[in-house]
Amino acid sequence: MDIADLNEHISRRYNQDIEDLRGSVLSMGGLVESQLSQAVAAIVTGDSELGLQVARDDYKVNNLEVNIDEECGRIIATRAPAASDLRLIVAIIKTITDLERIGDEAEKIGFLASKLAAMDRPSDSYREIKTLGNHVAHMLRDAMNAFARLDVDAALETVKQDELVDEEYEVIVRQCITFMMEDPRSIKRVMNVTWAARALERIGDHAKNICEYVIYMVQGRDVRHTLQSEHPDTAPD
């Protein structure tokens, strides 16, 4: 499937509907991306107001999800899409669920940021959260780019990044455990950091899911639970 394939329906109105739908999924992606980067920035800069702002703005993501869901239902009902169009719609319905979850995680990070802002700040000002956050933000951006460009190679590349994110998360958790053992007074703060890292790790998983939907949408094969890490033999070329 190619971008051009999406635009060859006999009805121009149908083309327009499909393009608009894709556009609104991607703008929802854009909103989620900015929510994520702001939430991470709120932790790193200790900006409690920004964190709360992110948490307050989550309703925008939710509204978009509902609207897009409705539009998908409308297209299925009125156009009876087949083949690649149907796959596109199915992939969109799944993608927006993951995007909405990412929005929820960002909301959570925003809340944690506002809590952390009121506590002592470590001397490295949460550098490890910043690194992990940047990494996850890249993953999400690459996933949305792969969705926009219907780019299977980029999607596969992005799926692989998830392992790195998991490793980084592991490192942060270990570090946090060490902090808590060294100084029990810091447990409350460090727990919040752990939760923020956990939320970021979850976002990485959701971004990975989106990449898998992209592969399904373009090639029509379901690669969930079959990628390199699980079954090295079926690694796509």
Binding site: L26, L31, S37, N145, A148
Partner: protein
Amino acid sequence: MSETSRKFLIGMLLFLAAGAGVGWLYGHLDWGLLAATLVALLWQVRNLLNFERALRTGDFETFRYGEGIWEQLFSRFRFERERGSRHKKNHRVLLREVRKSTNAMPDGAVILDVNNEIITCNRAAKRLAGLKRKKDRGQRVDNILRDPGLTELLHSGDHKATVEMMSPVNDGDWLNCRVVPYGADQKLLLLQDITERMRLSKMRRDFVANASHELRSPLTVISGYLDGLADDENIPPAWKKPVAQMRRQAARMRQILSELLELSRLEGAGPAKSDQPVDVRGLIEGTVEALGGHANTARMNIEAESTAKLQGNSAEIETVIVNLLSNAIRYTPPDGEITVSWRSGSEGADLTVADTGEGIDPEYIPRLTERFFRVDKSRSRDEGSIGLGLAIVKHILARHDAELIVTSETGVGSVFRCHFSPDRVVIEPPVPLAGDG
């Protein structure tokens, strides 16, 4: 009819006539005519086939010389063809030059059609925003650059506004986006790298904040000793006046520093939030009461017609009222009049401070909100003015989606109007007087 076609026709007719003549000599005119026609037809068919072959193979030797209609036809064709390819080559060279120059541009440029689909983009767009010229052709640009602000800008059709967004390629870089209409229904999206500018303005803000902060502690020590000296009965009388003077200046310096800090805080902060609506009328009444009543100040009237409240920060709105009002007092003679009003309507609400003072020269009005700007350099310094008041007002208003509109006439007076957008105004039913605090 051209010379060639005439020759061709005459030749043809003569040939047929000759055939008919020969046939007539032998007593078979019709046979002679038929034979001549067949020969002519064969000849033309052969030429036609030759011409087709020459077109196909590009070997034009057969037609190079001669004056017959086929040769003419051919040379005409060759001429047009060469001219066409010459033009094409010129265009290609031109296109290459244009592309080279757009690629050399430091700013990203993306050509969009009416649906915001990418037609082409230059190399800087790839470097700054990660667009791919070939791969992303036909893709909507907001599918790739998904910044919510940019999406809004593209759909708003606003060709003056700009949007700042983070670069999707290089972390920490900032891009300034602008949409310019061009051609029929086409748009040009310009992307400019403003990382350096953002860094400098952040540096400036940080510097002002840090410097003010650092200066504050030594100043506190100095003022402390000066306060002690001023109260000391034992110092020689000759020192009384200098000490008092130093104390005043130290207090002034402290005020400058705290206002600078306030300004840099306002600059860095986003839109103002509020938990409960601000009672503007109450603030106006309180401020007028606090500032007025002195013998040598102008009379102050309150025209608070509206009970509307404002979504915003109460302390900041109070600062706006205090700054505007104290400016008005400073520039209005004691026999003048100052009017503070608060009105609301469907288009928002207005807080207005009007005076009958000396007025402001129109050329200075745009510069009023600059830091440390004074209309009359010699005048107001000794009267407690610092020159930051209106700058602070401007920043507070910006945080409240409001704007400051200044109108003034020299010798008649000035009007400072703060216009708040309707989204910020809360209209409540009037409270009964008994419950009014």
